[in-house]
Amino acid sequence: MSAAPAASIPRVLAVGWWFHLKMLSRSAFNGILQILWPLFFATIAFFLYGIDGDDRTLLYASIGASVMGVWSAVSTSGSGAVQRERWQGTLELLVAAPVPLASVLLPVTTAMATVGLYSMVTTLLWGRLLFGIDVSIEHPWLFAFSVPATVLAIGMLGFLLSVTVVRYRSAWALGNAFELPVWLVSGFLVPISILPDWVRPISWVLAPTWGVRAIRESALGGHPLPDLLLCLLLGTVYLLVGVFAAESILRSARRNASLSLS
C-alpha cells in the first residue's frame, strides 16, 4: 500500500470542467433556460434601443445583452452549485480529497461560464435572425480574444463568490444579490457614463466592465486592446485572491463546521 501521489492540477481542472459541464447538460431546466434567456435578453436590448437605434447601436446593445447572459448564468448557478454540493453531501468529500480546494471549485464556475458562452453566441444569433441586426465585426481577431477573455474573467468572479459560499452557508444568495447590480454597474445595458460618479470605481474593479468594452470596441471599431488587457489582469487578480482565500476560508469552515448541513 502506498500513498496516492499528488494529483496533477491541470488534469484536475480539465477533468472537473468536463464533469461539471456534463452535469449541467443533464439538467432539463438549465437547458431550457439557456435557450430562453438569450432570446429574452436580445428582446430587451432590442426594445431598449430598437425604436430609434441604427444597426450599430443594436449591435452595441445585443453584445451587452449577451454578456449579461454569461454573468447571469455564472452568478446565480455558480454560487448555487457550491450550495448544492453542500446540500447533497459532496462538499465534504471534495474537501476531504488531497487536491487544493481551489482546483475543485474553479471548474464549477468555468463550466458555468462555458455554458454562458453558448448563451452569448445565441443571443447574437437571435439578434441577427429575429431583428436583422448587422453583426459584422471590425477587428475579428481581437473580438475572438475578447469573448473568451470576458467569459473567463466572469468565471473568475463567480469563483470568488463560490469560495465565500464554502465558508458561509447562506452566501449562495450573494450570487443572486449580485446578479442585477453587476449588470448595471458593468455597463452591460446602459453606458457607465450615465451612472453616478461614486459608482465608477466599482465599475473599474469589475472585470466584466472591461470585457464588454473590449468586445464592443472590437466589434464596432475603437481600441479594444487596453480594455482586453485590463479584463485579463483583473481576472488574474480574482483568480489569485480566490486561490489564496480558499485555503484560509477552508480552515475557517473547518473551525465553524460549515461544510455540512447538520
Binding site: P5, A6, A7, V15, S27, P98, L259
Partner: protein, 322 residues
Amino acid sequence: MTVIEVSSLRRIYRTRISPWRRGSREVEAVRGIDFAVERGELFGLLGPNGAGKTTTIKMLITLLLPTSGSARVLGHDVVEDPRAVRRRVGYVFGGDRGLYERLSGLDNLRYFAELYGVPAREQKARIAELLELAGLAGREKERVEGYSRGMRQRLHIARGLLHKPEVLFLDEPSIGIDPVGARELRTTVADLRNAGTTVLLTTHYMFEADELCDRIAVIADGRIVAEGTPAELKSRVGEGSVVEVEVFGDAGSVLPALRALSGVRSAVVEERGHSEVIVVRAEPGAEVTQGVLGALDGISLGRVATRQPTLEDAYVELVESA
C-alpha cells in the same frame, strides 16, 4: 505501529441561536477522548445517537478542527498537515447522500479518482476492479438517481477505496442495507482488514461490531466509557445469564422488587413492538429465573427466555451507567 493516535481530543460546536439576535449556544460534542488504533486493526466506535462518533471521525479526516487536544493519523497531525492525512485515508458514510445523482456511477468514480490522484494510466483498471468488488459491473453507465440504496452504498465504498487508502473510516456504512447486502459488506470490510487496511468503523448494529471488530471503544455523551475487545466488554457485564420476560401490564412497578432479589445485577424494561420485556441480568453464577418469576406473580406473562450476555447487553449497560 500506531496508525491513529487521539489524545485529549475535544470539539465544541457553536451555533447562533437566531440570525437576528446575538448570542450562541454551545454543544460540547467530544469531551476529551483518548484512544489509539494499531496498524491492521479493525476498531469500532460505538455509542448512542449524538455521542460524538461522527464528530470524532470528521476531526480525524480533517473536515473539522479540534477545539483542543490532538490527533495524528499515520504520524501526521490533522491540524498541521491535513493534506498528508487526506492522501492516505478513505472516508465512507452511510445513507444515500454524497453522490452526483445526475451522472453515472462511472462518472462519479472517474471524477473522484482524479481528485484522489489515482494516476491516469491506472484509473481504468482500478475502477473496473472496484465496480466488480461493489457488484456494480454492468450498471456503471446508469445515472445514480436510478440506483437503489444498496447500490449507492456500494458505490460509496468503491469511491472510498479508489486510492487504496491505508486507513479507512466507515461511518455507519450498513445503514439502510438489506440483510444480504449487509452480510456482503461485512465480508468486504473483513477482507480489507485481512489485506492490511486499518479500519475505524461506527455502527449501531452490535452483532456487526461483535463479528468484525478487534477492539471497541464505547462513547457516550462525548466521553469514552469503556474500551476493549468484544470479549472483554462482554465479560464486563459479568458472566451472568440474562432472563427476559415478556409482560402485559404495569412492568415498571415490579422493578424495585426484582432489583432487591439476591443475585440480580440489574433489571430494566425494554419496549419491543407492542409488548414490554423485562430484562434481568444476573450476577455471575447466580440462578435467578425462579426468583424473577416469583416476583412477577400476578402479572400476565408472555414468553420467558434465558440466554448468555451479548455485546448488546454489555453496550446497553455501559451506556446506561454512563
